[in-house]
């Protein structure tokens, strides 16, 4: 069967089970958009290529399947660089197809030419510049294989226009042996010796903590984690990338560690004698000052990527594996620590002394942002998916929403990409149309990518967006207040400019505003009653609210600052 390269590309995506592509056409990718008309694959037409990338990420994080985005060459490709970098930091499986100028024009500074494989070399797991139509099936199959195996990540496939227009005899790789990847070995056998060395440490431990990272979600190990945690009775902390990997309602869950983590989670790590890292990478937002991090803990480090071992903290036992396999192996050998009663007594005292708190909601001030998040969460259907941008609202969402299952928390962790929330929500909803999807956003983040509300409305993707509008770049404002003598430099945005209700309405969405508690509850109820179009609520929140607890950048986790309400008691 003779196909054009373009037809072969679409057919290859179908072979990989792709159900939706987020994209925007342009000159160099034009040939590929023609056979797309005849394909079963849904295409979501975005308004900016950055939106396509974040939608693909939201889709991937909510469904566990690779997200796919397709854009043209030059600026189309550079506009998706931020989502690619974001996916690289958060190990999100992504396949990005970019058009490229014709082979003969490469290197001539042709119209809309850019070296996108060069640009993305450091922020993709791998990338391909396809040189013949015959190679398209192999490149696509390899891209999906690489994106989804081992430590997942973004893979870019760059296709020159003439390659898409030339013809090939259709074929498709039948096994990974045909992918021509002699240097790629994502799966290794579990090292039994190391499993046993770890068990010895577990058996000796009196103050263990399960430090659960995004790799636990990526390896679909939540069930194994629950079983292991319940059998051993160990306390669990879930990082920002792992929220939902362990139920927040579980009594052994201490919550999120790190810069804005729960006091008990941060302190339990600090005082632990054994830290079991499950797909986490000792990020600086978790460790604080590295020499002061969990100073008395032995480290068991489980990761599928061995480059993470000893990168930040030297491991006593490093096990290269997916998280699920290790937990199963430990369970098979009934690995258990010492009696943890004393340890739990200490932890419970911290939990009791320093729960998450905020000032009493009142109509004397604008809305408390924490109260808004809690109120949305209380009124939300079980299984609601939450996305966020980056900043204060993200931390409040992570702190005050109760996550019970994998795939319900979609955020930008490693890269900290403002503007992630709205397009990620659209992608999540496209992948999980059965779920309610709330984007908890900030006013600064919203303005970066909210043109995609047009996409949401026109594609029939009814997300709900809560803007915690404090009229500031809130996290920067918080740092300026705390560390720059309240010298507020370029952080004020205005609550009224733009008019978020009109913005929503102009884009075909329902726009609501809430300035007091009664309006807040009413707006949430209205939003929950609307299921056919996107809804945006402009919550007017108190700009003086800050995120606590907080460990200042570069400080030791021992110097955690609790909420002012709790300071006298500390």
């Amino acid at each position: 069967m003779q196909l054009t390269g373009a037809q072969a590309l679409i057919k290859s995506l179908e072979m990989e089970g792709v159900e939706v592509i987020f994209g925007l056409p342009g000159g160099a990718i034009l040939p590929v958009y023609d056979p797309l008309i005849d394909s079963s694959i849904r295409h979501v037409l975005v308004r900016h290529e950055q939106g396509a990338g974040h939608m693909a990420e939201g889709y991937a994080l909510a469904t566990g399947r690779p997200g796919v985005a397709m854009v043209t060459s030059g600026p189309g490709a550079t506009n998706i660089v931020t989502p690619i970098g974001n996916a690289h930091m958060d190990s999100t499986p992504l396949v990005v197809i970019t058009g490229q100028v014709s082979s003969a024009a490469i290197g001539t500074d042709a119209f809309q030419e850019c070296d996108i494989t060069g640009i993305t070399m450091g922020i993709t797991k791998h990338n391909f510049l396809v040189k013949s139509a015959h190679e398209i099936p192999r490149a696509v199959a390899a891209a999906f294989h690489i994106a989804t195996t081992g430590r997942p990540g973004p893979v870019l496939v760059d296709i020159p226009k003439d390659i898409a227009q030339s013809t090939m005899e259709w074929w498709y790789p039948e096994s990974i042996d045909e992918l021509d990847l002699p240097g790629y070995h994502p799966v290794v056998e579990l090292d039994a010796d190391r499993v046993n060395q770890a068990i010895e440490l577990i058996r000796a431990a009196e103050r263990p903590v399960l430090y659960v990272g995004g790799g636990t979600l990526k390896s679909h190990a939540s069930a194994q984690l629950l079983a292991f945690a319940e059998r051993t009775g160990m306390p669990v902390v879930t990082t920002l990338m792992a929220r939902g990997a362990f139920p927040d309602s579980h009594p052994q869950h201490l919550g999120m560690p790190g810069m804005h983590g729960m006091y008990s989670a941060v302190t339990a790590i600090q005082k632990s004698d054994l830290l079991i890292s499950l797909g986490a990478r000792f990020d600086d937002r978790v460790t604080g000052k590295i020499p002061a991090f969990a100073p008395n803990a032995k480290i068991i480090h489980v990761d599928i990527d061995k480059a993470e071992f000893n990168k930040v903290r030297r491991a006593d036992v490093a096990i290269r594996s997916n998280v699920a396999a290790v937990l199963e192996a430990w369970d098979a050998q009934q690995a258990s620590p010492q009696n943890l009663d004393v340890w739990w007594k200490e932890i419970d005292a911290w939990r009791e002394a320093y729960p998450l708190v905020y000032d009493e909601p009142t109509d004397e001030t604008l809305l408390r942002p924490q109260f808004v998040v809690e109120s949305i969460a209380r009124a939300a259907a079980p299984g609601t998916i939450v996305t966020s941008g980056v900043g204060q609202h993200q931390m409040w969402a992570s702190q005050f929403w109760k996550f019970e299952e994998p795939g319900t928390w979609v955020n930008s962790g490693g890269a900290g990409t403002m503007g992630f929330g709205v397009p990620a929500a659209i992608g999540a909803k496209a992948g999980r149309p059965d779920r309610v999807v709330w984007c908890i956003d900030g006013d600064g983040c919203f303005q970066m990518t909210a043109q995609e509300l047009v996409t949401a409305r026109s594609e029939g993707i009814p997300i709900k967006v809560a803007i915690l509008n404090n009229a500031y770049l809130g996290m920067v404002r918080q740092w300026q207040e705390m560390f720059y003598d309240e010298r507020y430099s370029e952080v004020y945005l205005s609550p009224d400019l733009p008019d978020y209700v009109k913005w929503a309405e102009a884009m075909g969405c329902v726009g609501l505003r809430a300035t007091n508690i009664e309006e807040m509850h009413a707006a949430i109820a209205t939003a929950n009653s609307i299921n056919d179009v996107p809804v945006v609520i402009d919550f007017r929140t108190d700009s003086s609210e800050k995120v606590f607890p907080m460990v200042a950048a570069g400080a030791s986790n021992d110097d955690i600052m609790v909420h002012p309400l709790q300071r006298e008691s500390k």
């Binding site: 070399m121 450091g122 797991k125 510049l129 690489i146 002699p182 240097g183 480059a307 071992f309 990168k311």
Partner: protein, 184 residues
């Protein structure tokens, strides 16, 4: 490539403490850029680098990279290199276990007075004359980096027009751990 200044000994072209990484890669466009880019992104100095197809199989190349052990935490470099999809195998050869060789080519101005003594230098260093004209000589030395260093010092007494070294390639000494085999 970066200047070797920060880690050079007073007279030697060899880093004070160096590592030799022999990296087998797929022989494809852009692979060298991926490898070199990885060093650059982390601010690691490459002292010398030599690339050529491995054994007789054109599908793979060996890249011999000499890095300064002081400037770079080797464990991280090796692990990050290993993550590159096009990198097939990495061998870290300890300098004491390595047979290191490189090639030096130099064109030296000569006159009647200097030509005889230059020929003595060539003879005693094991170099060879590869080109001659009325006013200059091009010589070549294939040898250890130390031998090339020594010849270079000797040539400081003459007027050098051009001098170029290839950067070293290395194999483990017999009896030491061999390099990874080229895949079929």
């Amino acid at each position: 490539m970066n200047t070797p200044e920060p880690f050079l000994g007073a007279t030697s072209h060899t880093p004070v403490r160096h590592h030799i990484l022999s990296v087998m890669v797929e022989n494809k466009a852009g692979v060298l850029a991926r490898v070199a880019g990885l060093f650059a992104r982390r601010g690691f100095n490459i002292y010398s680098l030599a690339v050529a197809p491995a054994e007789t199989k054109a599908r793979f190349s060996r890249i011999t990279i000499v890095v300064d052990a002081e400037s770079a935490p080797l464990e991280q470099i090796v692990e990050q290199l290993d993550k590159l999809v096009n990198v097939v195998a990495i061998s870290d050869i300890a300098p004491k276990d390595a047979l290191e060789r490189e090639l030096l080519l130099a064109t030296i101005k000569t006159n009647v007075d200097s030509r005889t003594s230059l020929l003595d230098v060539v003879g005693s260093s094991g170099a060879a004359i590869v080109d001659v004209d009325a006013g200059s000589v091009t010589l070549m030395l294939a040898g250890t980096p130390a031998a090339c260093d020594e010849l270079e010092r000797e040539l400081e007494n003459y007027t050098t027009v051009e001098l170029h070294r290839t950067g070293r390639v290395a194999l483990p000494r017999l009896g030491k751990v061999a390099l990874a085999a080229v895949p079929d």
